[in-house]
């Protein structure tokens, strides 16, 4: 009886892990972009305003998901290990320096895929479930939870 119970529990855990794996976040660009693959560090630097141009001088334009979206929270959390609140505080601190500005925010009626199609320099993130051929993945964030 006990042995049966343990087997059941293990099976349930395995299934839920597979389900989570499907909920990964991917960093995407226009398929024609020069960017093919980025490190986590590079993605942080881009999204935190440190890296604004590429090596050839072309300007990078990062996009954020809407303010209170779950993916945005998960993205920053897993990328930097910090809450969205502290990321917001970071940007607030830099508000008047003029050195860097926060990524552009998508509005509800705009779709990231469309923006990426139009702008070669744009970069964004999305749920891996929503992936399609119109974007190419440069980094994949595995959500462990």
């Amino acid at each position: 009886m006990m042995r049966y119970l343990i087997v059941v529990i293990l099976q349930i855990l395995l299934i839920s892990a597979q389900a989570q794996a499907q909920a990964d976040i991917v960093v995407v660009v226009n398929p024609n972009s020069k960017l093919t693959e980025l490190t986590q560090q590079q993605i942080i630097d881009i999204y935190m305003g440190r890296t604004q141009t590429l090596a050839d001088g072309s300007k990078l334009v990062p996009y954020d998901q809407p303010m209170d979206s779950a993916i945005r929270v998960a993205f920053y959390q897993s990328l930097t290990g910090k809450s969205l609140a502290s990321i917001n505080a970071y940007w607030a601190r830099l508000l008047f320096t003029g050195r860097a500005s926060p990524p552009r925010q998508l509005s509800d009626n705009m779709r990231l895929v469309d923006i990426l199609e139009k702008d070669l320099n744009a970069i964004g993130y999305m749920d891996s479930i929503d992936l399609n051929d119109r974007v190419s993945v440069v980094f994949k964030i595995t959500i462990d939870e």
């Binding site: 305003g49 990328l79 930097t80 290990g81 910090k82 050195r99």
Partner: protein, 528 residues
């Protein structure tokens, strides 16, 4: 009293306190310095933590504005004299031109999102002068507190020493100073010190005082006894009728009583010689004899008594004293002579007179028969020993009876006295002139080698004396002849009786012849 106890104690305490304060201050200074430095470092760390995030972001984003803001806000603090923020990308933002710092604290800056990546560094220079000022101020304050503490303790010690030691000791000393040895006062113990060392000191001093008191009383008692004894002895000494004296080893007078002075006439002697210690033998008629006696006394240590004649005439008289000498030993071990003298002048003269009367004929003052025979015996003995020669002259006055009968006994006595006087003038000092009784005399002469002429000379001299007139009364005078018989020693006999008998025979022979001659002479005169 310049070096008072409490001042001395407080001097030592103060000196010790100052030395301690100096050492303590030195230690305190270095300690304060490190403490202060640590405090400043901590303050610095805290300060930095307030700007850490901004600094990290500034280095991360290479943001000059933000970096300047950080550096500038750091520099606004007193404890920081300057700071530099450098980023990995080569950005350097400094608060001033100063580029190199000695007392620099380095804080590494890590990426705000990538904590493993160092994105830059902040270097902060501490405000050295402020540090020093603070250290000095803090050290000074501590030293001040220390000095005040030490001063308070020193004053406390001074007060305690004063109260606990100096005042009680001063009061004891003052009381002790007032106490006269021998009176009945004791020291009082200062309040609250009965059971400590001061109490013991007072007890011991009191014991000592009591012991001293007892000793002084005993001494006084003894001194009084000695004084009264001395008074008695002095009275005995001074009032004694006998002269008492004490001589030192060289026979000088050490001390004498009044009686001695009176008897020996020492006052006169003293005045004459002008010195205190008179040489004792000098007081006597024959100093050498006295000196010999004293030397014998000293040598034999025996008591000696003798009669001696004083050298001084007192009231023109010759004085005799009876002396008793004995040895005494002084405290210092010297041999002394003590003695008594008693005036025996009267007695001596009396004895002399008795002796004289016993030996002499009352009328003529010549030796009497008994004394004469004794003297003759002595002379004979001497002559026998010395092979000397003597002549014994037996003198008998002719017809003395006739004078007695004619002119009375008084006239006869006068004749005898005058004849005796004349004979005395004729003989030598060493010859003995004796009245044998009545009108019979003996003269004993010491002669040389039996020379008859010498004797004849004496006989003739005597005869010449006899034939001169003798006054027996007013306008009355007589002449008288004498018959002189001679015997020689040793030719005519060895003893007195034989010699006198021989001389007697000789004398009668002469008398017989003379009578004839005399009768003849008278008859011739009458016939004329």
């Amino acid at each position: 009293m310049n070096n008072k106890l409490h001042l001395r104690v407080s001097r030592i305490v103060t000196l010790g306190a100052i030395i301690f304060a100096l050492i303590a201050s030195a230690i305190s200074y270095s300690h304060t310095q490190s403490v202060e430095q640590a405090a400043m470092k901590k303050a610095l760390e805290q300060l930095f933590s307030t700007v850490q995030r901004s600094a990290e972001i500034a280095a991360y984003l290479e943001s000059r504005d933000l970096a300047w803001e950080v550096v500038e806000s750091l520099s606004r603090n007193d404890i920081i004299s300057g700071s530099i923020l450098t980023s990995k990308g080569g950005m350097t933002v400094a608060s001033d031109e100063q580029s190199d710092y000695d007392e620099v604290f380095r804080f590494p800056l890590y990426g705000p999102f990538t904590p493993t990546e160092q994105v830059g560094e902040v270097r902060i220079q501490l405000n050295e002068s402020l540090l020093n000022t603070r250290v000095q101020k803090s050290a000074f304050e501590q030293m001040l507190i220390l000095v005040i503490q030490i001063l308070v303790i020193a004053i406390l010690i001074l007060i305690m020493v004063l109260r606990v030691l100096t005042y009680p000791i001063q009061s004891i000393a003052a009381n002790l100073h007032r106490i006269v040895p021998g009176d009945d006062n004791n020291l009082d113990c200062p309040k609250g010190h009965r059971n400590n060392e001061i109490g013991n000191l007072v007890d011991d001093i009191n014991k000592l005082l009591e012991a001293t008191r007892a000793t002084i009383k005993q001494e006084q008692y003894l001194r009084n006894r000695v004084e009264s004894l001395e008074k008695h002895f002095r009275l005995i000494f001074e009032q004694a009728s006998a002269g008492i004296f004490l001589l030192d080893g060289s026979f000088r007078l050490n001390s004498v009583n009044q009686a001695f002075k009176d008897i020996a006439g020492i006052a006169l002697e003293e005045r004459r010689s002008g010195k205190q210690n008179i040489y004792f033998p000098d007081l006597f008629y024959e100093p050498a004899v006295v000196r010999n006696i004293l030397q014998e006394v000293l040598a034999a240590g025996k008591q000696t008594a003798c009669d001696l004649r004083l050298g001084n005439l007192i009231n023109g008289e010759e004085r005799w004293v009876h002396c008793l000498f004995s040895t005494a030993r002084s405290d210092s071990g010297n041999n002394l002579i003590e003695g008594l003298i008693v005036d025996v002048t009267e007695r001596t003269f009396q004895m002399e007179r008795i002796l004289f009367e016993a030996q002499h004929d009352a009328l003529t003052q010549l030796f009497n028969r008994r004394a004469g025979e004794q003297l003759l015996n002595i002379m004979l003995a001497n002559a026998r020993n010395n092979q000397g020669q003597l002549a014994v002259l037996l003198i008998d006055l002719d017809d003395f009876k006739l004078i007695n009968d004619t002119h009375g006994h008084e006239a006869g006595d006068k004749v005898l006295v005058e004849i005796a006087r004349r004979m005395q003038l004729t003989v030598r000092k060493e010859d003995i002139l004796v009245r044998m009784g009545g009108d019979e005399f003996i003269i004993t002469l010491l002669i040389k080698d039996g020379n008859r002429d010498e004797i004849d000379q004496v006989v003739n001299k005597l005869q010449k004396q006899f034939t001169a007139e003798i006054e027996v009364g007013s306008d009355r005078s007589v002449t008288i002849g004498a018959s002189i018989g001679v015997a020689l020693f040793p030719q005519d006999g060895g003893d007195i009786e034989t010699l006198i008998a021989h001389a007697d025979i000789d004398m009668y022979q002469i008398k017989k012849n003379r009578k004839t001659a005399y009768s003849y002479l008278l008859s011739t005169q009458s016939t004329e």
